[in-house]
């Protein structure tokens, strides 16, 4: 066990810190789930790209730095330390990107990765359907082969970033006679193609963070297929593994929230019920525990290990931690917790209210925590599959 950074890692951190300090917007950007905020976040991504920081963990040929996972963690720590904007193309850069690198053809990599890195093209996810939520293998939207094209028909929903994104990736049933996990194909869909109708859905916070996508005989070239026909499930599981695993939520994000929570507690300690001191400290401890576990996992991966079902442990831990931190913050704020930012009396309430609404989605998206608990029980603990 060696818990010191190498001089190279320290230099990498210093370089990232210097660039971020010079370039992170002084004022927070509008939410990327508004049209104005979406474009502002794309502009920020373009700036990151120009500085060489958009996709640090990608290979150099696609605009990255070839950083290993440890350097990626260091970059994330600096990113959240600097209070930099949220990543509007998260779906692309951290989920589809690694999947493309694993399953994509050279042509696909050249076509999609650079524009993904710069956020010239922003990606939405297309997993869920009205009748396929937690039970993702119940997917019905179809992709039927017709010459050099797939013809897509059906409906995707809860497509994150779908309202403003340019592309969507998801699973479609390419074999109409197939059932469940078989006969599915992973397809990349341009959202400006004829026959695509995107209907933004207002979320709990009033913004259009996700959308319904209707596919009405949409013709997509066979070249837009990722992986083999009928092998979509295993391609998707690789994506879901990255998502639930490391890339979706790096520990720095929660350590930054925990630090803000400690600051909020300290500013309001005199008026807090005593239990909130304890809760604040517990939140900080859990954010640290998540960081320590991530360093442990990264060390294991760098030594040649793989991340499997244990990604489900992560997803439960960070999503419940995030929610607990926001609940604690709202209790610290007391009566002022309900104030919207524009309220004249809102001084010092921060963005906890909005953050709480978002944190509430954590135990739901990327596979509900109930599904994650099933995965832990069946695949890690070895309990029998349910009836």
């Amino acid at each position: 066990m060696d818990l010191r950074y190498t001089p190279e890692q320290q230099a990498f951190r210093a370089q990232a810190r210097a660039w971020l300090e010079a370039n992170v917007p002084k004022q927070p950007l509008a939410s990327f789930d508004t049209r104005e905020g979406f474009e502002a976040h794309r502009a920020w991504e373009a700036k990151l790209m120009a500085g060489g920081w958009a996709v640090v963990s990608w290979p150099v040929e696609y605009g990255g730095r070839g950083a290993n996972l440890l350097e990626w963690l260091i970059f994330e720590e600096e990113y959240y330390r600097a209070g930099a904007p949220r990543r509007v193309n998260q779906n692309g850069i951290f989920l589809l990107g690694p999947t493309l690198m694993e399953f994509g053809t050279p042509e696909q990599k050249a076509r999609y990765l650079p524009k993904m890195a710069s956020s010239e093209e922003v990606w939405a996810q297309g997993w869920s359907e009205p009748n396929a939520g937690s039970d993702m293998a119940a997917i019905q939207a179809s992709a039927l082969r017709d010459g050099d094209c797939y013809v897509l028909r059906g409906q995707k929903t809860w497509a994150s970033r779908g309202a403003f994104a340019h592309w969507l990736f998801g699973l479609f049933r390419s074999d109409p006679a197939s059932e469940r996990h078989r006969g599915l194909t992973f397809v990349l869909v341009p959202l400006d193609a004829p026959g695509v109708t995107v209907r933004p859905i207002a979320q709990l916070d009033g913004e259009t963070g996700f959308a319904e996508v209707f596919l009405d005989d949409v013709r997509v070239p066979v070249a837009n297929r990722l992986g083999a026909e009928g092998q979509g499930w295993s391609v998707a599981m690789a994506t879901a593994g990255f998502e639930r695993g490391l890339m979706l939520r790096s520990p720095a994000r929660f350590q930054a929230t925990a630090k803000r929570l400690v600051d909020l507690y300290r500013a309001n300690a005199a008026s807090c019920e005593p239990v909130l001191r304890d809760q604040t400290v517990r939140c900080w401890m859990n954010a640290e525990a998540y960081a320590l576990d991530t360093y442990r996992t990264v060390s294991r991966l760098l030594a040649g290990g793989k991340i499997g079902a244990e990604a489900s442990l992560n997803k439960i831990f960070w999503s419940e931690l995030d929610l607990r931190m926001h609940e604690t913050a709202l209790r610290i704020l007391g009566e002022r917790a309900e104030l919207l930012p524009e309220a004249p009396a809102a001084h010092g309430v921060g963005d906890w209210l909005d953050g709480h609404l978002f944190a509430l989605s954590g135990p739901i998206y990327a596979g509900t925590n109930e599904i994650q608990r099933n995965v832990i029980a069946e695949r890690i603990l070895g309990l029998p599959k349910g009836a």
Partner: protein, 352 residues
């Protein structure tokens, strides 16, 4: 940067696991409950032969010259086996004697501890009672900011029966004199602070093993107990209970391992790291105990079933060397202090 154990450490852990599985099965743990001392000199001797009792002692004194990054994994195994022999006090006393630097004391005691001929009991202000004072050949006892070394003949013991039948704790009556004093003032305070960290770390590590054993027992039971025509482990209500224990355990584990590293390297953050570890492991074990009982149902509520062997270990270790409350307060005092270095990128700043 590498957060993980090397092959040497894992091999040592594995050898103790195998040894305890064959030499310290539950029947033996339970049989010791009813003996006069509750302790097995043969088992202690065997542990010494494996190098466990002298792990932290210098090689010049027949020890292994290793540090807490080895010991933490051995304590985990002690917890898994519900071993009640005084390993926690030993992992406190040996470094205390070494760091005290009193040559005569080291000459007199380190080798006997390492070869399993002597047991040391430690009376620390954080604990109301002294464990295993009845079998100790040496008692290291704190009195204000002094540490004293006493022989068994110099103390009077009153046993305090406790919930865990494997535990033996005592109130110790004794008189501090200049002759018994081995450290005082700043040196004694420093040694007592280090003792607290080592004691709490040892308990935290044992709690990991206890939790894992409780989870294993509950999973095994859920796989074989059939109701409504299927193993109860097929039901989501049971699965989710057990998944929650797994989450708590796996997020306590790296915290404990990091604390071991901090203690071994004398990192500036070691006190807070140890306290975090004790809290996380204590809570994981408490959840594991409660959940394992619920999954077992009525059979788990019997004296005959072995489950409570580990439930009682979980409860007693959670209280020893500082309760959850004590350690949460220690963390709070540190991170809520003005100017505390927290946030992204600070996790390993304490260095070594």
């Amino acid at each position: 940067m590498r957060f993980g154990f090397d092959e040497d450490r894992l091999l040592l852990q594995n050898s103790l696991r195998n040894f305890l599985a064959s030499e310290c099965p539950t029947e033996r743990v339970r049989a010791l409950w009813d003996t006069t001392t509750g302790r097995s000199p043969e088992l202690w001797k065997s542990l010494a032969e494996l190098g466990v009792t002298g792990l932290l002692a210098p090689e010049a004194h027949e020890g292994m010259g290793m540090d807490e990054t080895f010991l933490v994994l051995l304590q985990e195994e002690a917890g898994r086996a519900a071993l009640v022999e005084p390993l926690v006090a030993t992992s406190v006393a040996v470094p205390l004697l070494v760091e005290l630097g009193a040559r005569a004391l080291c000459e007199r005691w380190l080798k006997p501890i390492a070869v399993g001929e002597a047991i040391v009991a430690v009376g620390h202000p954080v604990n109301a009672f002294v464990s295993d004072a009845h079998v100790a050949s040496l008692l290291l006892l704190a009195h204000e900011d002094e540490i004293h070394a006493l022989a068994p003949a110099e103390v009077a013991l009153v046993r305090q029966p406790v919930n865990d039948p494997g535990r033996r704790v005592f109130s110790v009556r004794w008189t501090p004199t200049v002759a018994t004093r081995i450290a005082h003032g700043p040196q004694a305070r420093e040694l007592l602070a280090a003792a607290l960290d080592r004691g709490a770390l040892a308990c935290a590590a044992q709690l990991l093993g206890v939790s894992e054993r409780l989870l294993d027992l509950a999973v095994a039971y859920a796989q074989q107990r059939v109701q409504f025509g299927q193993p109860i482990g097929a039901f989501q209500a049971v699965k989710h209970h057990l998944a929650n224990v797994k989450v708590a355990l796996e997020y306590a584990r790296p915290v404990v391992y990091r604390a071991a590293h901090s203690v071994a390297r004398r990192a500036a953050t070691r006190a807070i790291d140890v306290s975090h570890a004790k809290v996380a492991a204590g809570e994981a074990a408490a959840l594991a105990a409660k959940t394992a009982l619920q999954v077992h149902g009525a059979i788990g509520y019997t004296w005959e079933q072995d489950l409570h062997v580990w439930m009682r270990r979980a409860w007693s270790l959670e209280l020893a060397w500082g309760s959850g409350r004590f350690h949460r307060e220690r963390v709070a005092d540190c991170i809520l202090a003005p100017g505390a270095r927290i946030g992204p990128g600070t996790t390993f700043e304490g260095g070594e």
